[in-house]
Each structure stands twice: as C-alpha cells, then as structure tokens.
C-alpha cells in the first residue's frame, strides 16, 4: 500500500436503463471510504456489491482485461470518454484523480450507431461490421516467413504500429460531436495500407470499409479533433488524413 493511500467519499450519478427499449434515467448513489488506489471499475465493483447486498440491481458495465488492452471497458465520466486522464482507459483510471466529496456523473457512450443495451453497456457491433468489411488481409501467407524477408522501413513500421494500437473501444465515436467513427476506421485502414502485406488489397479495403462505416449510421467527420483527445491509445488524426487519401485514390484511380 502506498504512503499516499487514502480513502475518499463519493457521490455518483449513474445512467440506469433496464434494456434497450426502456427510457432510462440517472440514479444517485453515495459511496464511503473508497481507496484512492482502486481503479474506476473496482470502485463500481464496490458499488455493485453494496447494491446486491441491499437487494438492488447492480450497475451493468462492460469490462474484460482491466489492463487497458482489450477495449471492452468505457463510459463517459464527467463529460469525457474514459474519464479525465489522457491516454487512459476507464479500467486504468484510478480513484486518486478524484477528491473526497466529488460528484461523478457516469453515462454510457452515446451515438445512434451504439444503442444502449443496459445501463452503461452499449452495442458496439457496428465497429465489428466495419472490420468485417475489409479490416484484414486475405492473401495467402504460406509458411512462417523469415523475419527479415520483407523489408519494411522502421519509420513505416512505427506508423503502422501506432495505428494498430487502436483497441476499438469506441471512445472516438462517443466523444465526437458528430458521432463519427473516422478515427477508428482511419486507424484500421492505415495499419494495413502502410504495410506490404496490406497493400495488395488497399483499394478494395478503403472503399468497402468507408462504405460499411457510412452504412452503420455514424456521422460525418468535421475535424473537431475530440476523438484524438480522448483516445486511450493516443491515435492521431493523421490516420484520418491517410484514410481520406486512401479513399480518394481508390475512388478515382
């Protein structure tokens, strides 16, 4: 236990919604003695334990790895997707960033393409369908090639890796005033089109992934840059610019 460890009291305002068709509204809860060493999700665990003991319905929220790599978790905390810390997923956000007596407002990711299933859980299947449209390579790769058989400049590999860091959590969509998924799609298109293995299908990929994205009802990007600011993996909007180039090239040439 760290020296700075202390306990805080919190007021929570959480969006509660029975199912996808229910109206939903905010409920208020208070929690005492929350350790600042807890993660945000652990704090919600404590709340859920309390609610269960009292015979109430626990707050439903998505999570899996709890180490910031799977992209399952996510909610809007005090108006910011994944909470106030930059480049941090909700599961990696710690309670030391809050003060005793704080009121924390917790809302689900909002977008027409992300219908709320229950409480803080939203259906992000739309992102999966964008991936299914072309976020892969279908060339035969054969046996394991020698590591250095395909030469890739280090700078290019780094750019591809930066784009590949996207965990598909959907915070970009949730934070965008237009509910646009262009940072996600841009990252996925970039990651593959930068590398020789992905170049073979770059044209079809750009066309079909953008078409799939539009079909899901995501909004149109107007370059607000909110996505980049909340992205837990720090994905740059340079990837959206690259997608724009890829799409135009694929459409015209």
């Amino acid at each position: 236990m760290s020296d700075k460890q202390k306990n805080i009291d919190l007021n929570l305002e959480i969006w509660r919604q029975k199912d996808s068709r229910a109206q939903g509204d905010f409920s208020t809860y208070t929690l005492q003695n929350i350790s600042t060493d807890m993660s945000f999700l652990e704090m919600l665990d404590v709340l859920n334990e309390k609610l269960t003991m009292e015979g109430g319905e626990p707050v439903a929220f998505d999570h899996d790895c709890r180490e910031g790599i799977c992209g399952m978790c996510g909610a809007v905390v005090d108006g910011i997707a994944h909470g106030p810390e930059p480049e941090t997923t909700l599961c990696q956000l710690h309670m030391r960033h809050f003060k005793s007596g704080d009121t924390i407002v917790i809302e689900p990711f909002r977008s027409r393409a992300f219908p709320v299933q229950k409480d803080l859980i939203v259906d992000r299947g739309a992102l999966d369908r964008v991936i299914q449209a072309g976020g892969y390579v279908s060339i035969n790769t054969g046996g394991t090639p020698d590591a250095n058989a395909t030469a890739i400049p280090s700078a290019t590999a780094e750019l591809a890796m930066d784009a590949a860091a996207c965990i598909g959590c959907g915070a970009c969509v949730a934070s965008c005033p237009n509910g646009s998924a262009m940072l996600f799609t841009g990252a996925k298109i970039s990651q593959l089109s930068l590398l020789p293995q992905g170049k073979a299908e770059r044209k079809e990929r750009a066309l079909s992934m953008v078409t799939a994205m539009d079909k899901e009802g995501f909004g149109n990007c107007t370059n607000e840059r909110e996505c980049e600011a909340v992205c837990p993996k720090g994905i740059s909007i340079g990837n959206i610019a690259r997608m724009n180039r890829e799409f135009v090239k694929a459409s015209f040439f």
Partner: protein, 211 residues
C-alpha cells in the same frame, strides 16, 4: 456511378466542403486584390470596376461559377449538420470538450458563422454588386461613411475570420495534408490566414470612416 458513390460518402462530402471552400478562399484573394485599389483612391477602384465590366462574358462566367460553388458549400454544409445531429442522437448530461483549443468555438459554430456569412453576402451583393456599376466607387464611399454600416461590415469580417480559423485547417486535413514535418507551418497558417483577411478587408471601412 463511382463518382456518385464518392460524393455520397462521408469522405466525399468532406471533399465537397473542402474543395468549394478552397475556391471560395481563392475568390476572397481576388476580391481582396480588387479592393486594394481603394487604398490608392476611389477613382482607381472605379476604373478597375469599369475595366472588369467591359468584359461581360468574363463577369458572367465567373459570377455563375461562384454562385454554383457557394450553393454547393452551403447545401452540403446544411446537409452535414442535419445528418450529424441525427448521428449523435442524444447529448450528454455533462457537456465538455476533452481539449479546449483556441479555435474550438469556431469548429462548433461553423453552421452559424456560415449562415451569417450568407446573410452578409446577400446584403452586400444587393447593395453593391447589383447596384449601378458606373458609380460603384461612390456607392462604396457613401456606404462606409456611415458608422453603422462600417461596423456591420467589420463584424461580418470577424465572423469570416472565425469561420476560416476552422475552415482553412479543416480543408487541409480533408485533403489529407497532415504531416509532422509541415504541421507546425499548417498550425501557424490556421491563425495567419484568418487574420490576414480580417485586416485586409476591415481596413477599408476603417479607412473611409477615419478619412
């Protein structure tokens, strides 16, 4: 077919906004160059206007082209605003920007600053472009000697600068111009371009007001 598909896509619509915006900026440049004759004197400006209108074909081609580009920019802008309102179906209880930038206000209010520019353009063309060209110099001089009209023009130029402070950068981003090596320059231009047009255009009413 592929072209229809392109302009109907989200990226295609961004391109229409950016491309028409680019032409509108070029128009602003040529307009500012024409205005610059006023710094020398009303008579030179009148001579420039007379020269221009002695080529009715050029005037007709350019003004109808301009009208088309304007319409494209406005219609697509309104369409985007409506579609985007629908995509973000429900707001948050706590509305907050994750990162406040100097021009965050500009990006959030493009539709309003844009519609104000439309109002300005309608009034301005009604008063000047569709007025008597033979005495356009005199019209301008008379208009700007009124304090209220001058202030209205200066406010409109400020709104234009606000619009450009998001528009210019946004245009480059849409064209895919985003590179660590040039982002510093692009960032600087984001402020230089609107301020340049603001100073150039508002100096005219100020010139007449204090002359």
């Amino acid at each position: 077919m592929w072209f229809l598909h392109f302009i109907q896509s989200s990226i295609g619509k961004k391109w229409i906004m950016a491309l028409s915006g680019c032409f509108l900026i070029l128009f602003l440049c040529s307009h500012a160059a024409g205005n610059a004759t006023l710094f020398v004197g009303v008579s030179l400006f009148q001579a420039y206007a007379d020269q221009l209108h002695s080529h009715p074909l050029i005037v007709a081609v350019f003004s109808s082209g301009l009208l088309l580009i304007f319409a494209l920019h406005i219609v697509t802008g309104i369409l985007l605003t409506l579609q985007n309102k629908k995509a973000r179906n429900r707001g948050y209880k706590v509305q907050k920007r994750a990162k406040i930038r100097a021009n965050s206000q500009a990006s959030a209010t493009m539709i309003y600053s844009g519609l104000f520019m439309l109002l300005f353009v309608v009034l301005h063309t009604a008063a000047v472009s569709f007025g008597d060209h033979a005495s356009i110099g005199k019209t301008i001089a008379e208009m700007f000697s009124s304090f209220a009209i001058s202030i209205f023009y200066i406010i409109a130029f400020m709104v234009l600068a606000l619009h450009l402070s998001h528009g210019f950068w946004s245009m480059l981003q849409t064209f895919g111009v985003n590179h660590p090596e040039y982002n510093g320059l692009i960032h600087a231009l984001t402020f230089i371009v609107p301020v340049f047009f603001l100073l150039l255009f508002s100096s005219l009413p100020l010139l007449f007001l204090f002359h």
